[in-house]
Symmetry: C2
Subunit: 197 residues, 2 copies
C-alpha cells in the first residue's frame, strides 16, 4: 500500500537492487486483482519504484511477471534428497501441495499460473518457470537412475506432469479436500501402477 | 447489480428456452475477454436476451457460468467403451486433450477453469462441473472392476486427477508439444507404474 508520492528519484537506476520489491508488488497485485487488471503503473506505485525504471528492465507486465515467477523466493522449494525415489516424489508432491494451498505463496502461484492459461505472452514466461523448476528437480531423477529405481527410458517430465497435475486438479480446479496420505497415494499410482487382485 | 431498465416482458419466462444462446454468449465472451471483464450486461447484449431475464435465472455471472459449464454441449464428450480399462482411459485422455486444445471449445474450457482458480464463487460451480464429469465417467470404472482390471480399493477420482492433471499441466500450464503417443504413455504410467530394469 506504499504510494511513492514525490519519492521518485531516490530509486533511479536501482532496478536490479530493488528487484525483490518490484517482484513482490507485481505478484501481490496479481493475486489481489488478477492479471487483466494488473498495470505497470500500479506496480510502480506499490513498490515505490519509478515506472520508467520498471519499463527499462521489463517491456511489459508479462515480461515482468515472468521474471518474478522465476525469481521470487516465495515460489521456491527445496529439492528433496530422502534416499529413495518414492520418498523424494512424496516430498515433491507435498511441496507442490504447500505451494498451491498455503497463503500467501498459494494466491500468487495460482493466480500467475491461471493467468498464463489465457495470456500467450505470459505463457512464454510460464514455460521458462516450468523449465527452471524441472531443471532443479533433475537430481531426483538422476539419483533414482543411479540407484536403479528408474528405467533408462522413463520420462521424468511426464512423471512430474502427472504428480503436479493431480495436485492442481484436486486443489485448484476441483477444490475438494485431500486426505493426509494424498502424496503417498498419488506417488503409489505412478510408481506401482494398478495391480488387480 | 440488477437494474431492470423497464424492458422485461418480451422474454418473460423464456429463460429455459433461450438458455443455449445465453450459455453460448457467456462462454464466448469469457473466452474472448476473461472472467474479470465479463458482465451480465455484455451477455445480455450478445444473446439478445434481456438482462433482467438473465438475472432472474442466475443471480451472478459466477452462477450463470457454472450452469453454462455443466450445460453446454461444447464441453461434453462421449464416455468410451472400448472393452478394456486401458483403452477407455486412453480415449478419455484423448478427449480431455481435445477439449483443452481444439478451438473453440478449448478457449472456453481453459478460460472457465482458469477463472475458477481465482474466483471462490465460480469455484463452487467448477466443483459441480467436475462432479458431473466424474459421474459420467463412472461406468468406465464399474466395467473395469467387473472385468477384474481394477482392485476394489482403487480410487478412480485420483486416477482421473492424475490423467486430466497431466494433460492440464502439459498443454495449459507448461504449453510444450506432446507426442502422438501421449495418451498411451500417460495411461501406462498410472496402470503399469515404473518398472526398474
Amino acid at each position: 500500500m506504499v504510494d511513492g508520492t514525490g519519492q521518485h528519484g531516490r530509486q533511479r537506476g536501482e532496478g536490479p537492487r530493488r528487484q525483490g520489491e518490484i517482484f513482490d508488488a507485481a505478484l501481490s497485485l496479481l493475486a489481489e486483482n488478477g492479471y487483466e487488471r494488473l498495470t505497470i503503473e500500479a506496480i510502480a506505485e506499490r513498490s515505490t519504484v519509478n515506472k520508467t525504471t520498471i519499463y527499462r528492465w521489463w517491456p511489459s507486465k508479462a515480461a515482468l511477471l515472468g521474471a518474478a515467477l522465476v525469481g521470487t523466493p516465495a515460489l521456491r522449494f527445496d529439492v528433496p534428497d530422502t534416499g529413495s525415489l518414492r520418498g523424494d516424489l512424496e516430498a515433491l508432491v507435498d511441496a507442490v501441495l504447500a505451494l498451491l494451498t498455503k497463503p500467501p505463496a498459494a494466491d500468487v502461484a495460482v493466480a500467475a499460473l491461471a493467468a498464463a492459461a489465457h495470456s500467450p505472452e505470459l505463457a512464454v514466461h510460464a514455460r521458462t518457470f516450468f523449465a527452471d523448476r524441472l531443471a532443479r528437480e533433475n537430481p531426483v531423477f538422476e539419483r533414482a537412475a543411479t540407484r536403479g529405481e528408474l528405467p533408462p527410458d522413463a520420462d521424468p517430465t511426464l512423471l512430474m506432469d502427472l504428480l503436479a497435475g493431480a495436485v492442481w486438479v484436486r486443489v485448484v480446479l476441483r477444490q475438494t479436500p485431500i486426505g493426509e496420505d494424498f502424496a503417498r497415494r498419488t506417488v503409489s499410482f505412478v510408481l506401482d501402477g494398478v495391480r488387480p487382485r
